[in-house]
Amino acid sequence: VWEVSQEITEAANDPCTFTAFHGYEWTRSEGDASAGVHRNIIFRGSEVVDSPVSTFEAWDQYDMLAETRDACEAVSDCQFLAIPHNPNFSYGLMFQVEDAEDGTVLTAEGAQLRADFEPLIEVFQVKGGSECRNGFQYFSAEYDEFCDFEIIQPTTLCHLPEADPDNCLLECDPERPNTARNETEDAEAIPGCAASTDFVRNALKEGLVQQERLGLNPFKYGFVGGTDNHNGTPSGVEEEIFRGSHGELDNDAVEQVDREGGVLANVENPGGLSAVWAEENTRASLFDAMMRKETYATSGTRIVHRFFGGWDYPADLCDDPDLVQKGYDGGVSMGGTLPGTGDAPTFVAWASRAADLTDADGTSWPGTPLQRIQIIKVWTDDAGEAHEQVYDITPDPDNGASVDTETCELTSAGSDELCAVWTDPDFDAGERASYYTRVLEDPTCRWTQHICNESAGEWSCDDPDSPEYWEGCCLPDAPKTVQERAWASPIWYDPS
């Protein structure tokens, strides 16, 4: 199979037009207790391992990385990277540092493996968002209104205590702090626990904490997004036409819109995308850009985004046609690290909405206007405690934009472009920190709402003859809209 896969990949690879990497997924899965530490393994060139290290060879994620490293070293010019994927589905294992029973999970050797071969983390895909989640914060954190975005597991949401809904069935396991088990009465709901160590923002925090302990940051991750839709349609991310992704589990309208009954249906989404800033569209160039984390993820939209950090950016850099060149010249791009100089770094974040496309059938796919750019800072203080803070950096973040959920028309519009130069007002030169962006679009109809609207003329919510699936369209807590977004890889500030 590996040989056949390589032949197909070589045939598909067309430098400067379409790049196809050799790769495969390491997918350990057996019951709920061991799922979700999957890795996408990608090779830089045609030189690959003789045979993939599967779960039969290596059950443990660190063993897999070590064995793949050894197998790749045995082949000249072989280079690989591993992308941990779907961390929100890892039952707390993806960024686990300590185990209540066995003590330390993350050793110095393990941290080295992750730092060497795992430059990127998947923050978004069909099976949910992994950026952050209210109620699952790590160390200190305030409520973040944009965190509970396409949360999939468990299906019942728990917010901070004051926001807890009555139907919250989440229970914490005293043996595993910051975890919660899904004890919903619905037998088909997803089993297992959700944990703070499932979320990327927490991993960024833990990475800074571990850097103090181990001398290197095991979770120094840039961001990518994926589809993983099991449909053979990578990057098929349009909300308008998404119709499920897991075969019989979600292949009819009942499963798609009924939030109560759905295991892998309503709570899914059409998936995300990865963007890579590279010199050219070739294997070597893209691979090297991924290794230096010059990437951003999106929730499926094709926002274009730049993010630079440095010290001497002028306040009017956003008006300069040479913004990009000056961005590189005066600092680092997304995924880079700024050394400590004592001065607060300045950041420039620039985004434009997705282009308006028309397909071969004449159907138009307009880009959605942008609402705001945020910078999320995470840092550690002198006591080794980690913190986070969200800053709105563009004007008029609450622009009043909304969407008519019956027609899906936008009723007022945000911006084609947003750009801001921003200096951290709370900077402390002695504290490790990382800064990443979140670019939000105006709200648009969620994919399930498009399905509901298709039948909206025929049924109403109080009509007893309406079909079974229509009930899902009438649930008061079913999300009707979505705010698509992009996340740029962090820029780290390292005072050492």
Binding site: C318, A351, A355, S364, G367, D416
Partner: protein
């Protein structure tokens, strides 16, 4: 949904055949035909024991314990007995899944016996001429542009671009994207040898459609993109045209080989069909 109603197990004919098969099987079980002289043997060879052990090792990463080996062998013997009994009862007959699996095995066998061939030059040329329509090189263009941002200039965007166009045209024919009052643009300032599909990803479909056909050698505009208005200077243009064999040799060769293997396989199956006399309508 409509597609579900077409599932094969809902066909009345399937029900009829299925119920018939069950009755027939029940009759054989309740009234077994007399067994002739010897009792059939299930032979447990050393090769079989080794193979089961290796399969276990592959699956679990460790060898079988003695108790596990007994259990695995016992399980294998029971399933072998059931398998033989099923064949004896003819349960493999009229079974769609068994039929499909055996057909698949035959196809694997036949495919393995095929010999990949390479065409000679004349053969490939003739084939390529026949399939010329499949090998077209898309139109490509190279251009520079100046951008006038709609979010910065609002209703005055086109006017600003038009005013700048007059200056550019007056300044002579040389394209200089850095001159004039252009706004910062997220996409590239210059593009070289790009197709319409490549342009539209960064500028939108409408812009791509109008730029791809422009003749080189002069400034034009304003051309509207998803983000505002642009002044565009096309430096080079290649129209869509049929590819030559040399330009698409690797692709053509791969397609020829795939088609040749398909023909070989079809011939093999035809050969097998001729061993049967097909009757009825």
């Amino acid at each position: 949904m409509a597609s579900q109603d077409k599932r094969w197990w809902r066909e009345p004919l399937v029900h009829f055949v299925g119920i018939g098969a069950v009755l027939f099987a029940a009759d054989l079980v309740l009234n077994p035909p007399p067994v002739d002289s010897g009792v059939p043997t299930i032979e447990v060879t050393q090769e079989l024991v080794d193979a089961l052990g290796m399969a276990w090792d592959d699956k679990t990463g460790r060898p079988l314990s003695e108790a596990e080996q007994r259990a695995v062998l016992d399980s294998w013997i029971r399933s072998e007995a059931l398998y033989r009994e099923a064949v004896r009862l003819g349960l493999d007959r009229g079974d769609t899944i068994v039929r499909r699996r055996l057909v698949q095995k035959m196809e694997f066998l036949l495919e393995g016996s095929l010999r990949p061939r390479d065409p000679d030059e004349g053969e490939l040329e003739a084939w390529f001429d026949e399939h010329a329509g499949d090998y077209t090189l898309p139109a490509r263009t190279s251009f520079v542009h100046q951008y006038y941002s709609r979010s910065r200039r609002g209703d005055g965007t086109d006017a600003a671009a038009s005013a700048a166009l007059e200056q550019l045209v007056g300044a002579g024919p040389q394209p200089d994207p850095a001159s004039g009052s252009a706004d910062p643009f997220m996409g590239p300032k210059a593009q070289s040898g790009v197709t319409e599909r490549q342009i539209e990803r960064e500028f939108g479909s409408a812009f791509a459609a109008s730029v791809i056909d422009q003749a080189p050698g002069s400034w034009m505009g304003p051309v509207r993109s998803s983000y505002g208005s642009h002044l565009v200077y096309v430096t080079d243009r290649q129209r869509e045209r049929p590819a030559s064999l040399d330009e698409q040799r690797a692709e053509a060769l791969a397609a020829w080989r795939a088609e040749d293997l398909e023909v070989q396989l079809r011939d093999q199956v035809d050969g097998i069909v001729t061993r049967y006399s097909v009757e009825g309508s």
